[in-house]
Protein backbone atom coordinates (compact mmCIF):
# COMPACT_ATOMS: atom_id res chain seq x y z
CA UNK A 1 0.00 0.00 0.00
CA UNK A 2 2.67 2.47 1.02
CA UNK A 3 4.57 1.63 -2.17
CA UNK A 4 1.77 2.92 -4.31
CA UNK A 5 1.43 6.04 -2.19
CA UNK A 6 5.16 6.67 -2.28
CA UNK A 7 5.03 6.35 -6.02
CA UNK A 8 2.23 8.91 -6.18
CA UNK A 9 3.79 11.24 -3.66
CA UNK A 10 7.46 11.09 -4.53
CA UNK A 11 9.86 13.29 -2.59
CA UNK A 12 10.08 15.74 -5.49
CA UNK A 13 6.33 16.18 -5.39
CA UNK A 14 6.21 16.66 -1.66
CA UNK A 15 9.02 19.22 -1.99
CA UNK A 16 7.39 21.20 -4.80
CA UNK A 17 4.02 20.86 -3.06
CA UNK A 18 5.34 22.42 0.12
CA UNK A 19 7.66 24.96 -1.46
CA UNK A 20 6.21 25.81 -4.84
CA UNK A 21 8.53 27.69 -7.22
CA UNK A 22 7.41 30.80 -9.06
CA UNK A 23 4.38 31.35 -6.87
CA UNK A 24 3.97 35.00 -7.82
CA UNK A 25 2.28 37.43 -10.15
CA UNK A 26 4.85 38.85 -12.59
CA UNK A 27 3.98 42.49 -13.28
CA UNK A 28 5.10 42.16 -16.91
CA UNK A 29 3.02 39.07 -17.71
CA UNK A 30 1.10 39.48 -20.95
CA UNK A 31 -0.97 36.30 -20.86
CA UNK A 32 -2.94 34.71 -18.08
CA UNK A 33 -5.57 32.04 -17.61
CA UNK A 34 -7.41 30.58 -14.66
CA UNK A 35 -7.76 26.88 -14.12
CA UNK A 36 -10.44 25.37 -11.94
CA UNK A 37 -11.09 21.86 -10.77
CA UNK A 38 -14.78 21.93 -9.82
CA UNK A 39 -14.45 18.63 -8.01
CA UNK A 40 -12.21 19.94 -5.27
CA UNK A 41 -12.46 23.68 -5.72
CA UNK A 42 -8.81 24.13 -6.54
CA UNK A 43 -8.11 27.28 -8.48
CA UNK A 44 -4.93 28.38 -10.16
CA UNK A 45 -4.03 31.44 -12.18
CA UNK A 46 -1.14 30.95 -14.56
CA UNK A 47 0.81 33.95 -15.86
CA UNK A 48 2.99 33.93 -18.94
CA UNK A 49 5.29 36.48 -20.45
CA UNK A 50 5.55 35.65 -24.13
CA UNK A 51 7.93 37.70 -26.27
CA UNK A 52 7.37 38.68 -29.92
CA UNK A 53 9.34 35.60 -31.04
CA UNK A 54 6.68 33.51 -29.24
CA UNK A 55 9.12 32.38 -26.61
CA UNK A 56 7.76 32.00 -23.09
CA UNK A 57 10.19 34.16 -21.13
CA UNK A 58 8.52 33.82 -17.76
CA UNK A 59 5.96 31.52 -16.16
CA UNK A 60 4.42 31.89 -12.72
CA UNK A 61 1.25 30.96 -10.91
CA UNK A 62 -0.96 31.84 -8.00
CA UNK A 63 -3.58 29.81 -6.19
CA UNK A 64 -4.00 26.90 -3.87
CA UNK A 65 -4.32 23.24 -4.46
CA UNK A 66 -3.40 19.79 -3.27
CA UNK A 67 0.17 18.52 -3.15
CA UNK A 68 -0.09 17.07 -6.63
CA UNK A 69 -1.66 20.03 -8.39
CA UNK A 70 0.68 22.46 -6.64
CA UNK A 71 3.76 20.39 -7.41
CA UNK A 72 2.72 20.01 -11.01
CA UNK A 73 2.15 23.76 -11.35
CA UNK A 74 5.47 24.49 -9.73
CA UNK A 75 7.37 22.07 -11.97
CA UNK A 76 5.57 23.41 -15.00
CA UNK A 77 6.81 26.94 -14.35
CA UNK A 78 10.38 25.65 -14.32
CA UNK A 79 10.05 23.44 -17.37
CA UNK A 80 8.07 25.70 -19.70
CA UNK A 81 10.22 28.76 -19.14
CA UNK A 82 12.39 29.46 -22.19
CA UNK A 83 10.36 27.25 -24.51
CA UNK A 84 8.53 28.38 -27.60
CA UNK A 85 4.75 28.21 -27.52
CA UNK A 86 4.88 25.15 -29.76
CA UNK A 87 7.44 23.40 -27.56
CA UNK A 88 5.25 24.06 -24.53
CA UNK A 89 2.24 22.62 -26.33
CA UNK A 90 4.13 19.48 -27.29
CA UNK A 91 5.44 19.04 -23.76
CA UNK A 92 1.91 19.28 -22.32
CA UNK A 93 0.45 16.87 -24.86
CA UNK A 94 3.21 14.35 -24.23
CA UNK A 95 2.93 14.79 -20.46
CA UNK A 96 -0.84 14.34 -20.67
CA UNK A 97 -0.34 10.97 -22.36
CA UNK A 98 2.09 10.06 -19.63
CA UNK A 99 -0.59 10.68 -16.99
CA UNK A 100 -3.45 8.98 -18.76
CA UNK A 101 -2.25 6.28 -21.13
CA UNK A 102 -0.14 3.15 -21.10
CA UNK A 103 3.17 3.46 -22.88
CA UNK A 104 2.06 1.65 -26.04
CA UNK A 105 -0.76 4.16 -26.46
CA UNK A 106 1.38 7.28 -26.33
CA UNK A 107 1.10 9.51 -29.38
CA UNK A 108 3.92 11.32 -31.10
CA UNK A 109 3.06 14.96 -30.55
CA UNK A 110 6.33 16.22 -32.07
CA UNK A 111 9.88 16.71 -30.84
CA UNK A 112 9.79 16.93 -27.07
CA UNK A 113 12.26 18.07 -24.44
CA UNK A 114 13.26 14.63 -23.16
CA UNK A 115 14.98 16.00 -20.09
CA UNK A 116 11.85 17.88 -19.04
CA UNK A 117 9.75 14.82 -19.67
CA UNK A 118 12.09 12.77 -17.53
CA UNK A 119 11.51 15.16 -14.63
CA UNK A 120 7.74 14.98 -15.15
CA UNK A 121 7.87 11.19 -14.82
CA UNK A 122 7.45 11.66 -11.05
CA UNK A 123 3.89 12.77 -11.70
CA UNK A 124 3.00 9.76 -13.80
CA UNK A 125 1.96 7.87 -10.65
CA UNK A 126 -1.45 9.53 -11.04
CA UNK A 127 -2.19 7.01 -13.76
CA UNK A 128 -3.01 4.57 -10.94
CA UNK A 129 -5.34 7.18 -9.39
CA UNK A 130 -7.66 8.31 -12.20
CA UNK A 131 -9.42 11.03 -10.17
CA UNK A 132 -6.07 12.64 -9.47
CA UNK A 133 -5.16 13.08 -13.15
CA UNK A 134 -7.08 16.35 -13.06
CA UNK A 135 -4.86 17.52 -10.23
CA UNK A 136 -1.70 16.77 -12.15
CA UNK A 137 -2.84 18.54 -15.30
CA UNK A 138 -4.80 21.52 -13.93
CA UNK A 139 -2.05 24.16 -14.19
CA UNK A 140 -1.04 22.76 -17.58
CA UNK A 141 -4.55 23.22 -18.91
CA UNK A 142 -4.42 26.82 -17.71
CA UNK A 143 -1.00 27.33 -19.29
CA UNK A 144 -2.27 25.92 -22.54
CA UNK A 145 -5.36 28.18 -22.40
CA UNK A 146 -3.12 31.18 -21.76
CA UNK A 147 -1.06 30.32 -24.84
CA UNK A 148 -4.22 29.94 -26.92
CA UNK A 149 -5.43 33.29 -25.60
CA UNK A 150 -8.37 31.94 -23.60
CA UNK A 151 -8.71 33.14 -20.07
CA UNK A 152 -10.20 30.06 -18.49
CA UNK A 153 -9.48 26.39 -18.36
CA UNK A 154 -11.10 23.56 -16.52
CA UNK A 155 -9.58 20.21 -15.84
CA UNK A 156 -13.03 18.65 -16.19
Amino acid sequence: MMDELRELYQEVILDHGKNPRNLRHPPDANRMARGENPMCGDKFTVYLKVNPDRIVEDVAFEGRGCAISTASASMMTELVKGKTEEEARVLFATFHDLCTKDEDEHHDHGPVDEEALEKLMVLSGVRQFPVRVKCATLAWHAMSAAIEGEDKASSE
Binding site: M1, L8, L14, P38, M39, D42, G65, S69, C135
Partner: protein, 432 residues
Protein backbone atom coordinates in the same frame (compact mmCIF):
# COMPACT_ATOMS: atom_id res chain seq x y z
CA UNK B 1 -41.08 -7.81 6.95
CA UNK B 2 -40.18 -11.30 8.06
CA UNK B 3 -37.33 -11.39 5.58
CA UNK B 4 -35.49 -8.56 7.25
CA UNK B 5 -32.61 -10.39 8.78
CA UNK B 6 -31.45 -8.30 11.68
CA UNK B 7 -32.89 -8.49 15.13
CA UNK B 8 -32.50 -6.09 17.97
CA UNK B 9 -30.35 -7.55 20.68
CA UNK B 10 -29.49 -6.70 24.23
CA UNK B 11 -27.21 -3.85 25.19
CA UNK B 12 -23.41 -3.82 25.28
CA UNK B 13 -21.32 -1.43 27.36
CA UNK B 14 -22.53 2.16 27.41
CA UNK B 15 -23.95 2.18 23.87
CA UNK B 16 -27.57 2.69 22.99
CA UNK B 17 -29.34 -0.32 24.39
CA UNK B 18 -30.64 -2.96 22.05
CA UNK B 19 -28.71 -1.88 19.00
CA UNK B 20 -26.78 -4.80 17.55
CA UNK B 21 -24.69 -3.11 14.93
CA UNK B 22 -22.94 -6.33 13.90
CA UNK B 23 -26.25 -7.93 13.04
CA UNK B 24 -27.20 -4.82 11.10
CA UNK B 25 -23.89 -4.84 9.24
CA UNK B 26 -24.61 -8.41 8.18
CA UNK B 27 -27.66 -7.06 6.34
CA UNK B 28 -25.39 -5.07 4.00
CA UNK B 29 -23.53 -7.42 1.64
CA UNK B 30 -21.07 -4.78 0.46
CA UNK B 31 -19.76 -4.13 3.96
CA UNK B 32 -18.04 -7.51 4.01
CA UNK B 33 -15.88 -6.76 0.99
CA UNK B 34 -12.33 -5.54 1.14
CA UNK B 35 -10.67 -2.90 -0.99
CA UNK B 36 -7.27 -2.40 -2.63
CA UNK B 37 -6.38 -6.08 -2.75
CA UNK B 38 -3.56 -6.73 -5.21
CA UNK B 39 -2.32 -9.76 -6.98
CA UNK B 40 0.77 -10.10 -9.15
CA UNK B 41 4.31 -9.09 -8.31
CA UNK B 42 3.61 -7.34 -5.03
CA UNK B 43 0.49 -9.04 -3.73
CA UNK B 44 -1.34 -7.37 -0.91
CA UNK B 45 -4.38 -8.52 0.99
CA UNK B 46 -7.39 -6.23 0.90
CA UNK B 47 -8.24 -3.76 3.61
CA UNK B 48 -11.63 -4.01 5.29
CA UNK B 49 -13.94 -1.36 3.88
CA UNK B 50 -14.60 1.53 6.27
CA UNK B 51 -17.44 3.28 4.51
CA UNK B 52 -17.89 6.80 5.85
CA UNK B 53 -19.43 8.34 2.76
CA UNK B 54 -23.09 7.54 3.30
CA UNK B 55 -23.89 11.24 3.13
CA UNK B 56 -23.05 11.03 -0.56
CA UNK B 57 -24.90 7.76 -1.01
CA UNK B 58 -25.73 5.03 1.47
CA UNK B 59 -25.11 1.33 0.93
CA UNK B 60 -28.06 -0.98 0.35
CA UNK B 61 -29.34 -3.68 2.69
CA UNK B 62 -30.06 -7.16 1.36
CA UNK B 63 -33.76 -6.46 1.90
CA UNK B 64 -33.72 -3.65 -0.69
CA UNK B 65 -31.63 -5.62 -3.17
CA UNK B 66 -33.78 -8.74 -2.83
CA UNK B 67 -37.08 -6.90 -2.95
CA UNK B 68 -36.10 -5.19 -6.19
CA UNK B 69 -34.79 -8.41 -7.68
CA UNK B 70 -37.90 -10.35 -6.74
CA UNK B 71 -40.12 -7.58 -8.08
CA UNK B 72 -38.32 -7.71 -11.43
CA UNK B 73 -38.45 -11.50 -11.45
CA UNK B 74 -42.06 -11.88 -10.40
CA UNK B 75 -44.22 -8.78 -10.65
CA UNK B 76 -42.73 -6.43 -13.20
CA UNK B 77 -44.76 -4.67 -15.89
CA UNK B 78 -45.48 -1.09 -16.81
CA UNK B 79 -47.91 0.65 -14.48
CA UNK B 80 -51.12 2.65 -14.87
CA UNK B 81 -51.55 1.27 -18.38
CA UNK B 82 -52.36 -2.35 -18.77
CA UNK B 83 -55.51 -4.28 -18.05
CA UNK B 84 -53.45 -7.39 -17.63
CA UNK B 85 -52.58 -9.16 -14.41
CA UNK B 86 -48.97 -8.04 -14.05
CA UNK B 87 -49.66 -4.42 -14.89
CA UNK B 88 -52.29 -4.29 -12.18
CA UNK B 89 -50.00 -6.04 -9.75
CA UNK B 90 -47.07 -3.70 -10.48
CA UNK B 91 -49.38 -0.68 -10.24
CA UNK B 92 -50.65 -1.80 -6.87
CA UNK B 93 -47.17 -2.29 -5.54
CA UNK B 94 -45.97 1.05 -6.93
CA UNK B 95 -48.93 2.91 -5.45
CA UNK B 96 -48.47 1.12 -2.13
CA UNK B 97 -45.07 2.79 -1.90
CA UNK B 98 -46.78 6.15 -2.26
CA UNK B 99 -48.82 5.30 0.83
CA UNK B 100 -45.70 4.14 2.60
CA UNK B 101 -43.85 7.38 1.84
CA UNK B 102 -46.86 9.41 3.00
CA UNK B 103 -46.86 7.50 6.29
CA UNK B 104 -43.07 7.80 6.59
CA UNK B 105 -43.33 11.61 6.48
CA UNK B 106 -46.75 11.70 8.16
CA UNK B 107 -47.99 13.55 5.09
CA UNK B 108 -51.65 14.62 5.19
CA UNK B 109 -52.42 13.08 1.80
CA UNK B 110 -50.96 10.38 -0.44
CA UNK B 111 -51.84 12.58 -3.42
CA UNK B 112 -49.29 15.11 -2.24
CA UNK B 113 -46.50 12.56 -2.79
CA UNK B 114 -44.84 13.01 -6.19
CA UNK B 115 -42.14 10.60 -7.29
CA UNK B 116 -39.13 12.18 -8.96
CA UNK B 117 -35.70 10.96 -9.97
CA UNK B 118 -34.03 12.50 -6.92
CA UNK B 119 -34.22 15.48 -4.56
CA UNK B 120 -32.65 17.70 -7.20
CA UNK B 121 -35.47 16.98 -9.61
CA UNK B 122 -38.04 17.55 -6.85
CA UNK B 123 -36.62 21.02 -6.17
CA UNK B 124 -36.44 21.76 -9.89
CA UNK B 125 -40.08 20.73 -10.14
CA UNK B 126 -41.07 23.33 -7.55
CA UNK B 127 -38.79 25.95 -9.12
CA UNK B 128 -40.11 25.32 -12.62
CA UNK B 129 -43.75 24.79 -11.85
CA UNK B 130 -44.40 26.88 -8.75
CA UNK B 131 -41.80 29.67 -8.77
CA UNK B 132 -41.88 30.32 -12.51
CA UNK B 133 -45.66 30.53 -12.42
CA UNK B 134 -46.31 32.49 -9.26
CA UNK B 135 -43.24 34.68 -8.79
CA UNK B 136 -42.61 37.92 -10.64
CA UNK B 137 -39.69 40.21 -11.27
CA UNK B 138 -38.42 41.59 -7.99
CA UNK B 139 -40.02 38.88 -5.85
CA UNK B 140 -37.69 37.33 -3.31
CA UNK B 141 -36.71 33.77 -2.39
CA UNK B 142 -34.92 33.12 0.88
CA UNK B 143 -32.20 30.45 0.89
CA UNK B 144 -29.26 29.91 3.23
CA UNK B 145 -25.50 29.96 2.76
CA UNK B 146 -25.34 26.26 3.69
CA UNK B 147 -27.56 25.01 0.90
CA UNK B 148 -26.49 22.21 -1.40
CA UNK B 149 -26.12 23.48 -4.97
CA UNK B 150 -29.36 21.59 -5.70
CA UNK B 151 -31.17 24.13 -3.52
CA UNK B 152 -29.39 27.14 -5.05
CA UNK B 153 -29.06 26.62 -8.78
CA UNK B 154 -32.73 25.82 -9.56
CA UNK B 155 -33.66 29.18 -7.97
CA UNK B 156 -30.88 30.91 -9.90
CA UNK B 157 -32.41 29.56 -13.11
CA UNK B 158 -35.68 31.21 -12.08
CA UNK B 159 -33.69 34.32 -11.24
CA UNK B 160 -32.18 34.42 -14.73
CA UNK B 161 -35.53 33.99 -16.39
CA UNK B 162 -37.87 35.96 -14.15
CA UNK B 163 -35.61 38.43 -12.38
CA UNK B 164 -36.44 37.19 -8.88
CA UNK B 165 -34.00 37.96 -6.08
CA UNK B 166 -32.24 35.46 -3.80
CA UNK B 167 -31.79 36.46 -0.16
CA UNK B 168 -29.24 34.45 1.79
CA UNK B 169 -29.49 33.54 5.48
CA UNK B 170 -26.04 33.39 7.11
CA UNK B 171 -24.77 30.85 9.63
CA UNK B 172 -22.59 31.53 12.67
CA UNK B 173 -19.11 30.10 13.32
CA UNK B 174 -20.60 26.86 14.65
CA UNK B 175 -22.78 26.51 11.57
CA UNK B 176 -26.04 27.43 13.26
CA UNK B 177 -28.63 29.15 11.07
CA UNK B 178 -28.99 32.80 12.10
CA UNK B 179 -32.71 32.95 12.88
CA UNK B 180 -32.68 36.69 13.60
CA UNK B 181 -31.11 37.37 10.22
CA UNK B 182 -33.65 35.00 8.68
CA UNK B 183 -36.52 36.92 10.24
CA UNK B 184 -35.03 40.21 9.08
CA UNK B 185 -34.81 39.04 5.46
CA UNK B 186 -38.59 38.95 5.07
CA UNK B 187 -40.16 41.81 3.22
CA UNK B 188 -43.28 42.50 1.20
CA UNK B 189 -41.74 40.81 -1.84
CA UNK B 190 -40.73 37.57 -0.08
CA UNK B 191 -42.62 34.81 -1.87
CA UNK B 192 -40.80 31.59 -1.01
CA UNK B 193 -38.38 30.10 1.50
CA UNK B 194 -36.12 27.22 0.41
CA UNK B 195 -33.91 25.90 3.19
CA UNK B 196 -32.14 22.73 4.13
CA UNK B 197 -33.46 20.67 7.02
CA UNK B 198 -29.97 19.27 7.62
CA UNK B 199 -26.72 20.50 6.10
CA UNK B 200 -24.85 17.89 4.08
CA UNK B 201 -21.56 19.53 5.03
CA UNK B 202 -21.98 20.79 8.59
CA UNK B 203 -24.54 18.33 9.87
CA UNK B 204 -26.50 21.30 11.25
CA UNK B 205 -30.15 20.43 11.78
CA UNK B 206 -32.20 23.55 11.18
CA UNK B 207 -35.20 24.44 13.38
CA UNK B 208 -37.68 23.45 10.70
CA UNK B 209 -40.81 24.11 12.68
CA UNK B 210 -39.67 27.58 13.71
CA UNK B 211 -38.55 28.36 10.15
CA UNK B 212 -41.98 27.47 8.85
CA UNK B 213 -43.83 29.30 11.64
CA UNK B 214 -41.93 32.53 10.90
CA UNK B 215 -42.60 32.22 7.17
CA UNK B 216 -46.25 31.32 7.56
CA UNK B 217 -46.86 34.30 9.85
CA UNK B 218 -45.93 36.33 6.80
CA UNK B 219 -47.90 34.18 4.41
CA UNK B 220 -44.84 32.70 2.72
CA UNK B 221 -44.63 29.00 1.77
CA UNK B 222 -41.57 26.94 2.67
CA UNK B 223 -39.64 24.22 0.86
CA UNK B 224 -37.36 22.09 3.00
CA UNK B 225 -34.58 19.95 1.58
CA UNK B 226 -34.76 16.84 3.73
CA UNK B 227 -32.20 14.73 1.84
CA UNK B 228 -30.03 14.33 4.93
CA UNK B 229 -32.69 14.92 7.58
CA UNK B 230 -34.88 11.93 6.75
CA UNK B 231 -31.84 9.68 7.12
CA UNK B 232 -30.83 10.87 10.55
CA UNK B 233 -34.13 11.62 12.29
CA UNK B 234 -37.88 11.24 12.31
CA UNK B 235 -39.62 13.76 10.09
CA UNK B 236 -43.25 14.76 10.53
CA UNK B 237 -44.20 17.17 7.77
CA UNK B 238 -47.56 18.00 9.36
CA UNK B 239 -45.92 18.91 12.63
CA UNK B 240 -43.27 20.94 10.80
CA UNK B 241 -45.87 22.45 8.53
CA UNK B 242 -43.65 22.47 5.44
CA UNK B 243 -45.42 23.28 2.18
CA UNK B 244 -42.87 21.37 0.14
CA UNK B 245 -40.56 18.69 1.51
CA UNK B 246 -38.08 16.82 -0.68
CA UNK B 247 -35.74 13.88 -0.19
CA UNK B 248 -33.92 11.28 -2.23
CA UNK B 249 -34.04 7.50 -2.00
CA UNK B 250 -30.39 6.60 -2.37
CA UNK B 251 -29.24 8.33 0.80
CA UNK B 252 -31.95 6.46 2.71
CA UNK B 253 -30.48 3.04 1.85
CA UNK B 254 -32.69 2.81 -1.23
CA UNK B 255 -31.73 2.74 -4.89
CA UNK B 256 -30.67 5.67 -7.05
CA UNK B 257 -33.16 7.15 -9.49
CA UNK B 258 -36.03 7.70 -7.08
CA UNK B 259 -36.79 10.82 -5.08
CA UNK B 260 -39.82 12.39 -3.48
CA UNK B 261 -41.60 15.70 -3.44
CA UNK B 262 -44.14 15.87 -0.64
CA UNK B 263 -46.29 18.92 -1.21
CA UNK B 264 -49.43 20.58 0.06
CA UNK B 265 -52.14 19.29 -2.21
CA UNK B 266 -53.84 22.65 -2.69
CA UNK B 267 -50.55 24.10 -3.96
CA UNK B 268 -49.94 21.14 -6.27
CA UNK B 269 -53.42 21.52 -7.72
CA UNK B 270 -52.64 25.09 -8.74
CA UNK B 271 -49.29 24.19 -10.29
CA UNK B 272 -48.89 23.55 -14.02
CA UNK B 273 -47.05 20.43 -15.24
CA UNK B 274 -43.29 20.40 -14.95
CA UNK B 275 -42.75 18.05 -17.87
CA UNK B 276 -45.12 16.78 -20.50
CA UNK B 277 -45.72 13.23 -21.64
CA UNK B 278 -47.85 10.18 -21.21
CA UNK B 279 -49.59 9.21 -17.99
CA UNK B 280 -49.99 12.81 -16.86
CA UNK B 281 -52.83 13.85 -19.14
CA UNK B 282 -56.61 13.64 -18.99
CA UNK B 283 -57.03 13.94 -22.71
CA UNK B 284 -54.77 15.01 -25.55
CA UNK B 285 -55.90 16.79 -28.64
CA UNK B 286 -54.31 19.28 -30.95
CA UNK B 287 -57.02 21.70 -29.86
CA UNK B 288 -55.79 21.51 -26.31
CA UNK B 289 -54.68 19.00 -23.74
CA UNK B 290 -55.96 18.64 -20.20
CA UNK B 291 -53.91 17.35 -17.35
CA UNK B 292 -54.55 14.86 -14.61
CA UNK B 293 -54.81 15.83 -10.98
CA UNK B 294 -51.73 15.61 -8.76
CA UNK B 295 -49.66 13.61 -8.24
CA UNK B 296 -50.05 12.08 -11.73
CA UNK B 297 -49.79 15.51 -13.36
CA UNK B 298 -46.15 15.61 -12.27
CA UNK B 299 -45.16 12.08 -13.21
CA UNK B 300 -45.01 11.97 -17.01
CA UNK B 301 -43.67 8.91 -18.76
CA UNK B 302 -42.81 5.55 -17.28
CA UNK B 303 -41.50 6.25 -13.78
CA UNK B 304 -38.65 4.40 -12.06
CA UNK B 305 -40.91 1.52 -11.05
CA UNK B 306 -38.42 -0.94 -9.58
CA UNK B 307 -36.63 1.93 -7.86
CA UNK B 308 -39.86 3.01 -6.18
CA UNK B 309 -40.35 -0.56 -4.97
CA UNK B 310 -36.77 -0.42 -3.67
CA UNK B 311 -37.50 2.81 -1.83
CA UNK B 312 -40.48 1.15 -0.17
CA UNK B 313 -38.22 -1.68 0.97
CA UNK B 314 -35.67 0.82 2.29
CA UNK B 315 -38.34 2.57 4.35
CA UNK B 316 -39.46 -0.81 5.73
CA UNK B 317 -35.89 -1.59 6.63
CA UNK B 318 -35.27 1.70 8.40
CA UNK B 319 -38.58 1.47 10.25
CA UNK B 320 -37.81 -2.09 11.32
CA UNK B 321 -34.73 -0.83 13.17
CA UNK B 322 -36.52 2.29 14.30
CA UNK B 323 -35.58 5.84 13.50
CA UNK B 324 -35.14 6.73 17.18
CA UNK B 325 -32.75 3.82 17.64
CA UNK B 326 -30.80 4.81 14.53
CA UNK B 327 -30.57 8.41 15.70
CA UNK B 328 -29.30 7.29 19.11
CA UNK B 329 -26.69 5.02 17.52
CA UNK B 330 -25.52 7.75 15.17
CA UNK B 331 -25.36 10.25 18.00
CA UNK B 332 -23.08 7.88 19.89
CA UNK B 333 -20.85 7.59 16.80
CA UNK B 334 -20.83 11.35 16.31
CA UNK B 335 -19.79 11.99 19.89
CA UNK B 336 -17.12 9.30 19.80
CA UNK B 337 -15.70 10.24 16.40
CA UNK B 338 -15.68 13.93 17.30
CA UNK B 339 -13.68 13.11 20.41
CA UNK B 340 -11.21 10.94 18.50
CA UNK B 341 -10.71 13.49 15.74
CA UNK B 342 -10.32 16.50 18.02
CA UNK B 343 -7.44 14.68 19.71
CA UNK B 344 -5.51 15.18 16.51
CA UNK B 345 -3.44 18.32 16.56
CA UNK B 346 -4.06 20.69 13.66
CA UNK B 347 -7.43 19.17 12.84
CA UNK B 348 -10.38 21.56 12.74
CA UNK B 349 -13.99 20.44 12.52
CA UNK B 350 -16.19 22.69 10.39
CA UNK B 351 -19.70 22.61 11.80
CA UNK B 352 -20.22 22.21 15.53
CA UNK B 353 -23.87 23.11 15.90
CA UNK B 354 -25.62 21.63 18.94
CA UNK B 355 -27.83 18.70 18.02
CA UNK B 356 -26.11 18.17 14.70
CA UNK B 357 -26.39 15.00 12.64
CA UNK B 358 -23.55 12.48 12.33
CA UNK B 359 -21.68 14.34 9.61
CA UNK B 360 -18.17 15.59 10.33
CA UNK B 361 -16.43 17.94 7.94
CA UNK B 362 -12.86 18.72 8.79
CA UNK B 363 -9.60 20.18 7.57
CA UNK B 364 -6.06 19.37 8.69
CA UNK B 365 -3.31 21.98 8.79
CA UNK B 366 -0.77 21.49 6.05
CA UNK B 367 -2.67 18.74 4.22
CA UNK B 368 -5.02 19.38 1.34
CA UNK B 369 -8.30 17.44 1.70
CA UNK B 370 -7.76 15.80 -1.68
CA UNK B 371 -4.42 14.39 -0.58
CA UNK B 372 -5.97 13.32 2.71
CA UNK B 373 -8.77 11.50 0.87
CA UNK B 374 -6.33 9.62 -1.35
CA UNK B 375 -4.16 8.49 1.55
CA UNK B 376 -6.94 7.41 3.94
CA UNK B 377 -8.47 5.49 1.04
CA UNK B 378 -5.31 3.39 0.95
CA UNK B 379 -6.26 2.35 4.50
CA UNK B 380 -9.70 1.35 3.25
CA UNK B 381 -11.37 4.45 4.67
CA UNK B 382 -13.85 6.04 2.25
CA UNK B 383 -14.57 9.70 2.95
CA UNK B 384 -15.69 12.45 0.65
CA UNK B 385 -13.36 15.32 -0.11
CA UNK B 386 -14.07 18.52 -1.99
CA UNK B 387 -16.71 21.18 -1.88
CA UNK B 388 -19.66 18.83 -1.30
CA UNK B 389 -21.76 20.79 -3.80
CA UNK B 390 -21.72 23.69 -1.37
CA UNK B 391 -19.23 26.22 -2.70
CA UNK B 392 -20.77 29.27 -0.97
CA UNK B 393 -20.42 27.49 2.37
CA UNK B 394 -16.76 26.71 1.70
CA UNK B 395 -16.24 30.41 1.12
CA UNK B 396 -18.11 31.25 4.32
CA UNK B 397 -15.68 29.17 6.34
CA UNK B 398 -12.64 30.28 4.36
CA UNK B 399 -11.71 26.83 3.10
CA UNK B 400 -11.34 25.65 -0.46
CA UNK B 401 -12.64 22.24 0.42
CA UNK B 402 -12.98 19.83 3.33
CA UNK B 403 -12.87 16.14 4.08
CA UNK B 404 -16.19 14.76 5.27
CA UNK B 405 -16.95 11.62 7.22
CA UNK B 406 -20.63 10.82 7.32
CA UNK B 407 -21.90 8.09 9.61
CA UNK B 408 -24.80 5.77 9.02
CA UNK B 409 -26.79 3.13 10.86
CA UNK B 410 -24.19 0.47 10.02
CA UNK B 411 -21.05 2.28 11.17
CA UNK B 412 -19.14 1.41 14.34
CA UNK B 413 -16.88 3.03 16.89
CA UNK B 414 -14.06 0.88 15.53
CA UNK B 415 -14.55 2.57 12.18
CA UNK B 416 -14.28 5.97 13.83
CA UNK B 417 -10.99 4.71 15.30
CA UNK B 418 -9.88 3.59 11.85
CA UNK B 419 -10.60 7.07 10.51
CA UNK B 420 -8.68 8.77 13.31
CA UNK B 421 -5.72 6.41 12.86
CA UNK B 422 -5.70 6.95 9.10
CA UNK B 423 -5.76 10.73 9.54
CA UNK B 424 -2.80 10.44 11.90
CA UNK B 425 -0.98 8.41 9.27
CA UNK B 426 -1.75 11.13 6.73
CA UNK B 427 -0.18 13.74 8.96
CA UNK B 428 2.89 11.61 9.37
CA UNK B 429 3.08 10.94 5.64
CA UNK B 430 3.05 14.61 4.75
CA UNK B 431 5.09 15.66 7.76
CA UNK B 432 2.30 17.98 8.79
Amino acid sequence: MSDIAHTLAKDSGGRPAGYDVERIRADFPILSRTVHERTGKKPQPGKPLVYLDSGASAQKPRHVIDTMTRFLEEDYANIHRGVHFLSQRATDRFEAVRDKVAAFLNAPSRDGIVFTRNATEAINLVASSYARTFLERGDEIIVSVMEHHANIVPWQLVQMEKGVVLKVVPVDEAGVLDLDAYRALFGPRTKLVALTHCSNVLGTVTPAKEIVRIAHERGVPVLLDGSQAVVHSTVDVQDIGADFYVFTGHKLYGPTGIGVLCARLDLLKKMPPFMGGGDMIQSVSFNGTTFKEPPMRFEPGTPPIAEAIGLGAAIDYVESIGREAIAAHEHDLLTYATKRLTEIEGLRIIGTAPGKAAIISFVVDGVHPHDLGTVVDQYGVAVRVGQHCAEPLMERFGVGSTARASFALYNTRAEADALADAVKAVKEFFGA
